[in-house]
Amino acid sequence: MIDFELNESQKMILSSLENSLEENFDIRVENNKAEGIRSHNHGWNEINKLGFLGILSSEKNGGLGLSFFDFILTLECWGSKLCDGPYIENSITIFILEKLEDSFSNKIIQDISTSKKIITSIVSEQYFNNKKVPVIHKSNNSYFLDGEIKNLPYLDESTHILTLGLLENEQKLIILNKENVAILNENKTITGQKLNDITLKKIEVSKNEILDSEKLNLVENYVKLFTLAKCAESVGVANSILSMTTEYLKSREQFNQPLGRFQAIQHLAADIYIKISETRELIRYCSKLSIEDKKMNQHVSLSKIKCDEELSNIAWASHQLHGAIGFTWDYGLHLMTRKLLLNRSLNGDSLFHSKIICP
């Protein structure tokens, strides 16, 4: 049965999240971050305070027990306020661990839900660059991890790292304590987010820390869900571009009338609105599918391709509609553009996803 209605509890969650995230948003701080002057993750504290880190954790594990669809809704809000921090990484980790239903996993879930453990990861990029994945060696009854992880975000904020590891040529998810790793380099994204290259030298991991499931391919599912989550975040970013643009078109006057009265302008703005609406609905629909449903693989790729095709073009169109003011650093439109370009470059290119859609 077709139903596009958000229920009352979903509307309430979105409203409380939006209010909290709106409060401390400051475009000057975000500009400083993009310039490398200041390290700052807007929204991360609020997400912690509101208990949203446990959004996908079951109530028995101390979380909110909400659906993946609900999580996707929060990400639209998260993206629209240009938030940053390992919210997606922790939530997807919880979602995967919930499927394992063992005491080790439950303990980690409980620790994440209560912010005792914070996970960071770059699993998705490791998956797409298979050659650079750390290797797990087995020696007697112990396991050791060797290798490098490049461009790992949020290391400062985290206590643990979720990484891919190759065990006898099979990809596994491993949870590591960050104290065991050595930092090699510091890099930055075009949004100003700090990244670290780290090295892992003979780090011992317990069997429990190598996540395994007979029913589910954990790696593929992690990557799939992470990709979809980043798409939802991008839709949120694009939505903030739409709000900014509409407001500008209503208030800016040229030729003695608001810019938004000109039909040429109206059509470009309508295009932005339409593209965001359809991309959002595609992602929301996908997030309602079960991860066991084979259709979901294809729909994640359809969503990613749609985001890649449409959302950065929305940013370029918005710059055009803003004229010179949108070309300035201080106005801040570039922050959204940068975030969309960054997200487009992550989680596999069009060819990879085309091959999933057209096998």
Binding site: T246, Y273, Y285, H299, S301, L351, S354
Partner: protein
């Protein structure tokens, strides 16, 4: 999106179509041809037997009281199969309008005719001088208060199925000194009235699916005014929203995409990266347009407001349909453009449809009109 019960309904619809459609049916129905029209009538009769013509309508008017999903499945499946017999003017335009605005007399008289599969409706909106600017219609409707009748004079154009229709819903100016959207009425007329003359118009694809309809002293009872006299503009606009879901275009587009994907496999170009990327992009745009179309149809059942979704879905569905047909045209290339011995049914269909679907961005309110609506009513930009 659909329950197993709803998917089972889809299977049953396909079985019904299988029963009537000749094997290897490879064309968009041309209802000017008697054989296609006869097929359409037979299929409608069979749908009516099962009460499937308008399954989401109330039982008292021949429906099944089902939710909008079954109507979506019906329209999409018929379009995918390119089958005649799915009535959009009666079931999807005037029917829902009468359910919302019609008098008891109108509901009882006209709705059952539609669900019995007996009557074909057509739309009398556009005129030679009123296309996108619908509020400028000049066809006169003179109301005689004493006899409670309206006499209509004027010309309507681009009237799809006008040559087959039994009835027309027509927008006329009943207050002669009025301007723009004031003083208009939506009226129901009988196409068998001696004052109705239908002249076919040949379109770019070579067929004549639409017509010019000349109305000379056509009389209809005041009981056939939908809503209030002189106050039909909002009713007429709302009717357009029923028209604008774009669901047929989704079915046609999906069929073309599936067929061209199979064709790419057949001629061994499917493994090429550029082909895969193009097909994947088209599939992605089709899926998002499809969901938007479902949403537009769903939202019409939720409240009385006029929403933006039908404008968006109409635009998206017609655009993706053209993009997919254009891609097919490019892949087939000279197999389409040169009519030699290799000009098979698939190539003929792609040629005809690529040309015919130019109309998608024009009829029911052009793409540009939809963008005006979205910008002004959706985004609140000034008029």
């Amino acid at each position: 999106m659909f329950s197993s019960e709803e998917l089972n309904f889809k299977k049953q619809i396909n079985l019904l179509i299988d029963k009537f459609l000749p094997k290897g049916w490879q064309k968009y129905p041309d209802e000017r041809l008697d054989e296609d029209w006869d097929l359409s009538k037979k299929i409608k009769k069979e749908l009516a037997k099962n009460k499937w013509i308008a399954p989401s309508w109330p039982k008292e008017y021949g429906g099944l009281d089902q939710d909008i999903s079954s109507s979506i499945i019906l329209s999409e499946t018929f379009a995918y199969r390119m089958s005649p017999g799915n009535d959009r003017f009666g079931v999807r335009m005037i029917g829902p309008t009468l359910l919302k605005y019609g008098s008891q007399y109108q509901k009882e008289k006209y709705l059952k005719e539609i669900t019995n599969g007996e009557v074909q409706w057509c739309q009398g909106y556009s005129e030679p001088n009123s296309g996108s600017d619908l509020a400028s219609v000049s066809t006169k409707g003179e109301y005689d208060e004493e006899n409670d009748t309206i006499t209509i004079n004027g010309t309507k154009v681009w009237t799809t199925l006008g040559h087959r229709a039994d009835r027309m819903f027509i927008l006329v100016r009943t207050l002669q000194d009025s301007v723009r959207h004031k003083g208009l009425s939506l009226v129901l007329i009988d196409m068998k009235d001696p004052g109705v003359k239908v002249n076919p118009i040949k379109n770019v694809s070579g067929s004549s699916s639409f017509n010019e309809v000349v109305l000379s002293n056509v009389k209809t009872s005041g009981k056939n005014i939908v809503g209030k006299l002189h106050d039909g503009w909002m009713v007429a606009l709302d009717l357009l929203n029923f028209e604008r879901s774009g669901i047929d275009y989704i079915g046609w587009a999906e069929r073309c995409l599936d067929d061209i994907e199979n064709y790419c496999k057949k001629i061994d170009i499917f493994s090429r990266n550029d082909i895969k990327i193009n097909l994947a992009l088209l599939r992605s745009n089709l899926e998002s347009a499809k969901i938007m179309t479902y949403k537009a149809l769903w939202i019409k059942t939720k409240d009385e407001k006029i929403h933006m979704e039908p404008s968006m879905s109409k635009l998206l569905a017609t655009e993706i349909n053209v993009k997919i047909h254009e891609f097919a045209f490019q892949i087939l290339s000279q197999k389409v453009t040169i009519k030699d011995n290799n000009h098979d049914d698939f190539s003929k269909r792609i040629l005809k449809n690529r040309l015919f679907f130019i109309s998608g961005g024009i009829l029911g309110g052009t793409t540009e009109i939809q963008k005006n609506i979205i910008a002004q009513r959706g985004l609140g930009l000034p008029k």
